[in-house]
Amino acid sequence: MALIDIRGVSKTYNSNGCVVQALKGIDLSIDEGELVAMMGPSGSGKSTLLSILGAMNPPTTGTVLVDGIDLYGLSVEKRADFRHEYIGFVFQQLQLIPYLTAVENVLLPLAISKRPHREQEAMAFRALGRVGLVDKARRLPNQLSGGEQERVAVARAIVNEPPLILADEPTGNLDTQTGEEVMRLFQSLNEDGLTIVLATHNPENTRYVGRTIRIRDGRIAS
């Protein structure tokens, strides 16, 4: 069975009387261990689909199953638990907490675990090691380059060892070379067995992924 199974998902935003149909009937399944890119122009609905997949944004219609769990059949708190356990997010705008150091940002997801301090630190440094940033662990985000910040965000996503990583425009703010490094990082994480879904509008990135899903206007084009 597929790790992710999306059936008939549509999403209509209705803000201040302005109705936007962001997704119009998405069917999609992704297997465990895949590295998938969602390609599409700005406004096509990539972020919306990722947030629905990430148990953060209830679809207007349709169901989302991850590991057989119907995400939107869960209570709000259980959905939070699901995010904690299953999902590592890399957000579109990085979203590092500016007053916390790199390692503290990475430690955040562990704050609600009952793990002792030493174990938490060990996990955080392992994650930072995985992205090659151990030596800059004590720096604040604004003391890091864009690529390094991106890697801190990746470390925070993997620290809890979730099976699924969702990344929204991970190379959007990076120059070509740094973007390629980040894409190679995702590749190697995927080789370790993580399932990764990322949204991008950069066709270059498709070179690194196993499958590309093209989204146009809220629908899967191919």
Binding site: T48, S51, N57, E77, A80, F91, Y99, L108
Partner: protein
Amino acid sequence: MRLADISFNNLRRRKSKMVFVILGLAIGVATVVALFSITAAMRDDLQDKIDQFGANIVIVPQARELSLSYGNIAVSGVSYDVKELSQEDVPKIKTIAFSGNIATIAPKLLGAVQAKGAGESRALLVGVDFPAELRMKKWWEINGAAPSREGEILLGSRAAGVLMSRPGDSLTIDGRKFTVSGVLKETGSQEDSVLYVELSAAQALLGKPGKLSLIEVSALCKACPIEDIVGQLSGVLPNAKVSALQQAWKARRQTVDQLTNFSLAVSAVVLAIGAMIVLTTMMSSVKERTREIGIFRAIGFRRTHIARIILLEALVVSVVGGVLGWLAGMIASSLTAPYVAQAAVTVNWNPALAALAVGLSAMVGLGSSIYPAMQAANLDPAEALRFI
């Protein structure tokens, strides 16, 4: 990292705002503590005065027709149909349920006598039990000494003036000789005109062995209702009329009660202002942290986790505010109590009040952070991050 670390980190980062909240709460708590301890000190002081100013219960014979008085009026005659009190009534007083509250029992026999020293006059003779009398009348200052031997007499200041006697002089009362052991300094009351002798001497002089005209009782009544003591005394002394002397203190007690009510009202207002400060600061803090809270929610923090972070911040701030407020309130009240109370009152450093202050502050701080905490907890992560 624990949730508490996130809270503490936030507090550290937002020092100036938190100092503002702490000050708001501290001022509120300080006001409450100061008002509370001043009114408590005044109430204690009032009670001490009631105790100190002697008798608060007077027992006199039950009479149909009685013109014998000690309060403000002179003794004119003796009514013979009066069933007089006797010395046997004194031990009965100690048998009431509230006997533990009875501090002093001062039996007295009153009578008019002819006194002759260098001057001569009719005078009111009062036979007293000197040890009890002195304990009850702490304001007495005696020039000389209180009678300690038989045949000694203590004079009120006016009586001493009229009789032109000084300590050491001799006096003749109804033909019997007494030595003046002391003269009372002026008290401004009818005591100034009285001659005090030992009870047994008065009984002999007036020809009433074992008899008493009245019994003054001072009861310590911090908490007990004096009416109950009066009732119990009436029970054991059916032939006596027992009354409480409270009039004098009613006005002052009313003042203290009014001040207490006023304090409660002011406290409520000040605490409400403190609560508003906490509420608005916490609300703006939550607003500023929308993104951050969105991240927390996205990475799997439950709503209760978010609420805990906010409420822990509120708790820390309000406990600090409570402690500071208590300190400030105690210092302020210690300094101002004498002026506010217009008496030499002392403020009590009561640990229960400290606990109350901190508890109150925590209640206000937490209470007014519940709504902001709920707002934070209910933030929609997708909406908060707006990364869609």
